[in-house]
């Protein structure tokens, strides 16, 4: 049995998966990007290997994705997270025609054609408004863990209208509303709404086509899923492994390479064949 690895070296977290030759996920790992990008990728690779109970030499091919893809020193091929998220989402939900990925620094909307090919994509430019960082700022200002923001927001009774999605000013915006006597859950719901509206407009830019799959760490946030479904007017597919969609896609691209007869050779330049 041969195995492949997919490494997604993102701005806030490194994710790694190990797939077997049938494309089944046999191991996965996630690490906060608090250290050197190259070592974090290596660490997450070894953690995923340990999870799969495999050894490094059993990995026939590794594809790296994410902003740090060129820093994954053991990667055999680099593919952008746009292609990888699309591929991962399709593997989990084959009828996907639109992918919305909200990551730590990037939000991207990807449109997928009938043959599973990426036909268009749009991303936030020059500004992290409407990305995971905005929620990170909220978590910091409210002194609440990121994982609790969504469920707390769902308890809102009178959501505050938030006018800015500027990540830098998020903290002062929140403190300002709290100072006016608004409850934290109402402020939080307002923030979620502001992000959802911004992300929905990105989706409309590539053209909304069902099914829509929501990927990335923010898809674990229940309030965001609820609001996006409301704003987009369509149900969203959310995988239990939503954070691993990029790494999964990378693993599947690695599998393509193995099936085409290519094997890991770090010294050799690989021709990109998607």
């Amino acid at each position: 049995m041969e195995y492949v690895a997919g490494i997604d070296s993102g701005s806030t977290q490194a994710k790694g998966v190990i797939l077997d030759e049938h494309g089944s996920l046999v191991g996965q790992a996630i690490l906060n990007m608090e250290r050197n990008m190259s070592t974090a990728a290596e660490e997450v690779f070894h953690l995923a290997l340990a999870d799969a109970q495999r050894r490094p030499e059993e990995i026939a091919f590794t594809v790296a994705t994410g902003y740090g893809r060129y820093r994954v020193t053991f990667g055999d091929l680099q593919v952008t997270e746009i292609s990888c998220h699309a591929r991962g989402a399709l593997a989990e939900f084959p009828a996907t025609h639109t992918v919305l990925d909200i990551g730590g620094q990037d939000t991207k909307a990807i449109r997928i054609g009938d043959a599973g090919e990426v036909t268009d994509f749009a991303m936030n430019d020059k500004c992290a408004a409407g990305t995971g960082r905005f929620l990170g700022a909220a978590s910091f200002a409210l002194e609440l863990p990121l994982s609790e923001l969504g469920s707390l927001a769902m308890q809102a009774t009178a959501p505050v209208k938030i006018t800015t999605t500027c990540t830098v000013f998020a903290e002062s915006e929140i403190i300002g509303h709290l100072a006016k006597g608004h409850r934290p859950e109402d402020v939080l719901m307002g923030m979620h709404h502001a992000i959802a509206t911004r992300c929905a407009s990105l989706v409309r830019r590539v053209g909304l086509a069902s099914e829509v799959t929501f990927t990335g760490g923010v898809s674990r946030n229940v309030a965001m899923v609820t609001l996006l479904q409301e704003v987009l007017g369509t149900p969203l597919n959310v995988s239990a492994r939503a954070q691993f969609m990029g790494a999964l896609g990378a693993g599947l691209y690695a599998l393509d390479q193995v099936r085409a007869g290519r094997r890991s050779a770090h010294s050799q330049e690989q021709e990109v064949v998607l």
């Binding site: 746009i82 292609s83 090919e117 990426v118 830019r205 053209g207």
Partner: protein, 432 residues
């Protein structure tokens, strides 16, 4: 004239173009010593043929500004303008020019730019008039503002002999007559219509060649990159418009490009994807931007910039009639303005036509952070071309010359993803 001396033109058109531009910039620094009057003009809506007939040295502040970007000196000039009080959101060309004024006109090319005797502005860009007012205050010299009417109909060009065409042409001609009187007062020379006609003959010849040079890039592989080599060619087109040197340069360029096409020589050795560029370039990271595309075998076969940014010269086939030089100049300027000002309303058609003519695989839009005006209609355009023709498109954003808006990792990521889309399509097409 623009350039008093030129050495013999060598074989490489791009190197020649760069030398001509440097020579022209240097000649501006010595204009005062030669007793030559100086005019400041913009690249669009400028009546420079009239100014040339009076022997004005022409300073293009937009070119000065973009040159601060090319020469990697833009941050210092932008900072000076911002320290002075200009908002970071203001057009970076304006700010670099203000920075130049605050630097005693010492340009990074080594040339000390002369102050103007006369400045021409127009309504062709919505900052031109305010920009010219800055010159007026700083230099204490008059700005002559041309009002060239636009047109907001599906058909951009008013019909020949139509009431609109006649009225607009007369309106602009009247302004040109006023400008001529002002030039006579400044230079102490009489207007010479024969000299204007001679300049127009040269412009026509340059334009005729330029249209063919643009068309040569329809060949596969494309002999030059519209967004690298093409920009140098266009620089000459602006700075040497209507001059003998300009005509000679275009002839040399024509011969060189024709030769490359005959030999099947492409700009990129392994041309894989033919692309169209829409918008203005990022001069501060131009080479890097081109490298990002060419490393994937992508070449810009055409760019709308090359068809609209060279003043009255464009690819729409607007030629002067030298037998009635002032009237014809007014008519062509009006038509060029109609094209420029209503561009937002029909650019999706012209781009679709370019995609067809140049057999393009994709289209790249470049939005400018310090100029939202040029990005107007890009989103609609993109949607039209994607949904109607299924054409892969990419939107990237940076600035004309402000390096603070160039985020290399972000742009590389988008460019890489765009080529993955193009590769996937190629693969699917092969599979049938």
């Amino acid at each position: 004239m623009v350039s008093p001396q030129t050495s013999p033109i060598e074989a490489d058109a791009r190197a020649t173009g760069q030398r001509l531009i440097n020579q022209w910039l240097a000649s501006l620094g010595t204009a005062r010593e030669r007793g030559q009057p100086v005019a400041y003009v913009f690249v669009m809506g400028n009546a420079i043929e009239i100014l040339q007939s009076f022997g004005f040295a022409l300073v293009f502040p937009e070119i000065n500004s973009l040159q601060t970007g090319v020469r990697k000196a833009a941050p210092d000039f932008l900072a000076k303008a911002e320290d002075f009080g200009f908002s970071p959101d203001v057009c970076s060309y304006v700010k670099a020019d203000v920075g130049l004024m605050l630097s005693n006109m010492q340009h990074p090319s080594g040339v000390r730019m002369p102050p103007p005797d006369l400045a021409i502005a127009s309504n062709l860009c919505n900052v031109y008039i305010k920009w010219a007012e800055i010159w007026e205050r700083h230099f204490g010299t008059p700005a002559f503002v041309l009002d060239i009417p636009g047109k907001r109909h599906a058909e951009w060009r008013s019909a020949p002999d139509s009431a609109t065409r006649i009225a607009d042409t007369r309106w602009v001609e009247g302004q040109f007559r006023d400008l001529i009187a002002q030039c006579e007062a400044i230079t102490g020379q009489r207007f010479d219509p024969d000299r204007l006609a001679e300049i127009e003959v040269n412009v026509n010849e340059m334009l005729r060649l330029w249209i063919e040079i643009l068309a040569f890039n329809r060949s596969r592989p494309s002999p030059y990159n519209a967004m690298l080599d093409g920009l140098t060619y266009m620089g000459v087109l602006n700075a040497y418009r209507g001059t003998r040197e300009g005509v000679e340069f275009m002839r040399l360029l024509y011969a060189e490009v024709a030769d490359k096409v005959a030999r099947g020589e492409g700009r990129v050795s392994n041309e894989r994807f033919r692309l169209i560029f829409s918008g203005t370039p990022c001069y501060v990271n131009l080479r890097r931007m081109i490298e990002l595309f060419e490393s994937h075998g992508g070449v810009f076969a055409a760019a709308d910039y090359l068809t609209y940014a060279a003043g009255g010269l464009d690819s729409a086939g607007l030629f002067y009639d030298p037998s009635r030089p002032v009237e014809s100049l007014a008519e062509v300027s009006t038509l060029a303005a109609q094209m420029g000002l209503s561009n937002h309303f029909f650019s999706h058609h012209t781009l679709a036509q370019q995609v067809k003519d140049y057999a393009a695989d994709g289209l790249v839009y470049h939005g400018i952070k310090s100029c939202r005006t040029v990005a107007t209609s890009m989103a609609d355009n993109r949607e039209y071309l994607t949904s109607r023709y299924g054409l892969p498109t990419l939107y990237i954003e940076s600035d004309l010359i402000d390096p603070r808006y160039w985020s290399d990792a972000q742009i590389k990521n988008r460019v890489d993803a765009f080529f993955e889309v193009l590769e996937q399509r190629t693969l699917l097409a092969k599979r049938g």
